[in-house]
Symmetry: C2
Subunit: 106 residues, 2 copies
């Protein structure tokens, strides 16, 4: 399977995106720790983490019998750069900054 296909397929599932959210909030967690946050069996979570790892969205490091999971932002940035050039980026960020400002302070 193509490299980018693995990334987009991995992002297509809400449980996997939630796992990325958890790792974005705090890195270096184990499977058991992440499992406790999902309404799913350990096997399901392990399967999702494997998909994320094979896509390069999550990188891991073993520490004894534990496996620590870290978020890798590179593939996300590459998605961005594929369809947003430097010129458009200025407009879009300005637009979204304005939107966020309006939503926070009505």
């Amino acid at each position: 399977m193509a490299d980018d296909d693995l990334v987009f397929k991995a992002l297509a599932d809400p449980s996997r995106r939630f796992l990325l959210d958890l790792l974005f909030a705090r890195d270096g967690r184990t499977l058991t720790e992440l499992e406790s946050e999902l309404a799913m069996t350990r096997f399901g979570v392990a399967k999702h983490l494997k998909v994320l790892e094979e896509a390069g969205l999550v990188v891991t490091r073993r520490s004894g019998r534990e496996k620590l999971h870290f978020l890798n932002p590179v593939p996300i940035r590459q998605i961005h750069d594929r369809w947003i050039d430097k010129y458009t980026e200025r407009h879009v960020t300005a637009l979204l900054d304005l939107k966020n400002a309006l939503e926070e302070e009505p």
Copy 2:
């Protein structure tokens, strides 16, 4: 279906990503024009464009019997901002700029 789910599901298919690539290169094309670039029937392409439009990745404008398609970068930027904070963004862009420079000039 949740808003972000529509976006990620839409991006999960390679044909739809190719359609976004085509629109990124040149906006405002019709279904018939896009169809000629894909090895697929018109119905397949129309279905994909509908998915992209419902996700907000493509916006359309009617002109007589034709329907013109445009790329909308906002959802893409929102994916970026979900998992890359301002601090990390500096590191990742620097890294990818370096990578691109090395690949272009060996």
